[in-house]
Amino acid sequence: MPVLNDKPVSSDAAAPVLQLAGVAHRYGATAILTDFSLSMARGEHRLLIGPSGSGKSTLINLICGFLRPQEGIIRVSGEPISDGSEAKRDAVRKAHIAVVFQALRLVSALGVADNLVLAARLADRQPSRSEVHDLLDELGIADKAHARPRQLSQGEAQRAAIARALIARPALLIADEPTSALDRTNAETVAAMLLRLADVHGTTLLIATHDERLRPFFPRVTELDAPAPGPAQ
């Protein structure tokens, strides 16, 4: 079934930041995930690769607590996010997770710097101006601090989205197809940046993609297959 190449973290890794055990989810008759397990240690980088419809987005929705798995348990930094009330799942996500999406990068009405400040405040942080500036500088877009999202190129917008995610100081950074809309150079730049910044900030990084260009950057890869249709109900 979908899980092909789940390479477990070495036993000496610290307590897992992300832990999925026996997770199953289906849409109608189609099983998207079956008995899926994954564990990621603090600071670990992993590529979750698979074609469209293989369940990458479903998995991200499950990890973020937007969906509840029909079976199994998901923990982030030791806290369950697969069950409990919506408020409780919101709290776990807010405390530990940041996500970078393919298209949904920044709040359109705000400038880049204001997006970072908003993201930090929503994560109960009060970033200084210099912290915002330094992070944008690290991503090479300090000169775009006051630009609106629509004024950015694809590559700049994706880098701004990474900054927006990192300013919240998440334990787990998830990137959903972060390079799909980018050309090869930009894709490689973004991947390298994600890895470097995740290292610098000690962030656990999970990238879900179908972009094979990213495979060489990641020592750990989990592959997902397209789901097989189940019996008609």
Binding site: S57, T58, I60, N61, C64, F66, L67, E86, A87, D90, R93, K94, A98, V99, F101, Q102, A103, L104, L106, V107, S108, A109, L110, D114, L118, A119, L122, A123, R164, A168, D176
Partner: protein
């Protein structure tokens, strides 16, 4: 999040401006109507507080009250001076104060009367003293402020009751200011008070006490047009315009008006009754305008609703991202609600400013109406609160709808 709300508002300035305009017109209309009805009511009640009955020439009783108590309309005509003596001799009458109208100074009416009129309006002298000799005047606070008149200053009255009515002046008989009244908010603020004899003397009219200062006057012999309220020409029998009466007892309210109306060539009018009648006349118009303003408010709220409904649908992705970033459903709900409230608050404040600006313009254009442009009424706070609640109510459905969004499919699409 407040910054975000303002950023969203800033993204659609024109639509927001249109929403604000619609609501602001509604708020402005309601405030103007509130101020108009309250000020009119207060002005009518205050102005006639100590006057039980007005006696004057036959005609419209409302016109008699308006001209003699509020100094707004033309008098109905003149009455013989003897009537004053007769009424003073009547046991039902506690006080009788004569009024002789006919001239003005820059639109401020010159009223021949007695110093008791000052007490009748509960006015006090701010400077100087009351008028005692011929051609001495006491001026109201508003007249003093508008003309800058000071004690000892002399001025020449013009024929007629309005600034543009007469062209001729009484150059030979200038009045002198001997007293200035403190502001009262009543019609007396706009009057120039002098003795009845002075008015007669200015017009060269023979009268029982006509020996004073006679030699100083040039008798111009002008005609006062024979219109309502104008004193008769020189040589005519001394007349006055009206008499303000105070009853000795409540029983007089029943008998005295009937007696005057039946047994004399004059008419009596009760300021309380005529004021109430006037307010009643305005009521349907005020109610209709109020209803129109409420309809406009409803249209404004609907515009806010439609705008927010489409706006939040357009920013579905943004709101999903905010949820991913840690915003709760309640927070998202609150931002949309706040957006409606801010639009309505802006509209309410602009409407308030617009209304008071309009009142200010009206007070400048029609000073005789005595409009106070910047007197805030507690009802205005209720109108502002109502507008904000309306804005929030308009935002309620879009806010509720957006919080029901299932994030997973939105995120899948992005």
């Amino acid at each position: 999040m407040i910054r975000l709300v303002f950023a969203y508002l800033g993204e659609r300035k024109l639509t927001v401006a249109l929403n604000v305009l619609l609501l602001a017109i509604s708020v402005g209309m309601l405030v103007v109507l509130l101020q108009f009805s309250r000020q009119a009511e207060e002005r009518f009640l205050d102005g006639a507080e100590n006057i039980d009955l007005v006696v004057g020439a036959k005609g419209s009783p409302l016109q008699l009250v308006l001209s003699s108590v509020y100094h707004l309309d033309q008098p109905t005509g003149n009455i013989p001076l003897e009537a004053l003596g007769d009424l003073r001799a009547n046991p039902m009458v506690a006080s009788a104060i004569p009024l002789a109208l006919g001239d003005n100074f820059r639109g401020f009416r010159i009223v021949g009367t007695e110093p008791a009129l000052i007490d009748l309006y509960a006015a006090e002298l701010a400077r100087g003293r009351s008028f005692a000799r011929g051609l001495e005047v006491v001026i109201g606070a508003e007249m003093a402020a508008a003309t800058g008149a000071q004690l000892g200053q002399r001025f020449i009255g013009s024929h007629g009751l309005a600034a543009d009515e007469g062209e001729q002046g009484h150059e030979a008989t200038p009045f002198v200011v001997v007293g200035i009244l403190a502001p009262t908010g009543k019609p007396i603020d706009r009057l120039i008070l002098t003795s009845v004899e002075s008015v007669w003397d200015v017009h060269g009219i023979e009268h029982p006490a006509g020996d004073h200062a006679r030699g100083e006057h040039t008798q111009d012999g002008h005609a006062h047009g024979g219109g309502a309220g104008e004193l008769e020409d020189r040589g005519a029998a001394a007349e006055i315009t009206a008499i303000l009466l105070g009853y000795r007892s409540p029983a007089a309210a029943v008998r005295l008006p009937a007696m005057i109306d039946r047994n004399t060539a004059m008419q009596s009018a009760s300021p309380a009754r005529e004021s109430a009648r006037l307010i009643t006349l305005f009521e349907p118009a005020i109610e209709a305008l109020g209803l129109f303003a409420l309809l406009l408010g409803g249209a404004g709220a609907f515009a806010v609703f439609v705008t927010l409904w489409s706006a939040v649908r357009g920013r579905e992705g943004d709101l999903a991202l905010l949820r991913v970033m840690g915003a709760s459903r309640a927070m998202i709900f609150g931002t949309v609600l706040l957006e409606g409230a801010i639009v309505a608050l802006m509209a309410a404040l602009i409407g308030l400013g617009f209304a008071h600006g309009l009142l200010w313009l009206a007070s400048r254009s029609f000073p005789e109406a005595g409009i106070v442009p910047f007197a805030f009424h507690p009802g205005e706070a209720a109108i502002v609160a109502g507008a904000v609640l309306l804005g929030m109510a308009a935002a309620l459905l879009p806010a509720w709808n957006v919080t029901r969004n299932n994030l997973a499919p939105i995120l899948d699409r992005n």
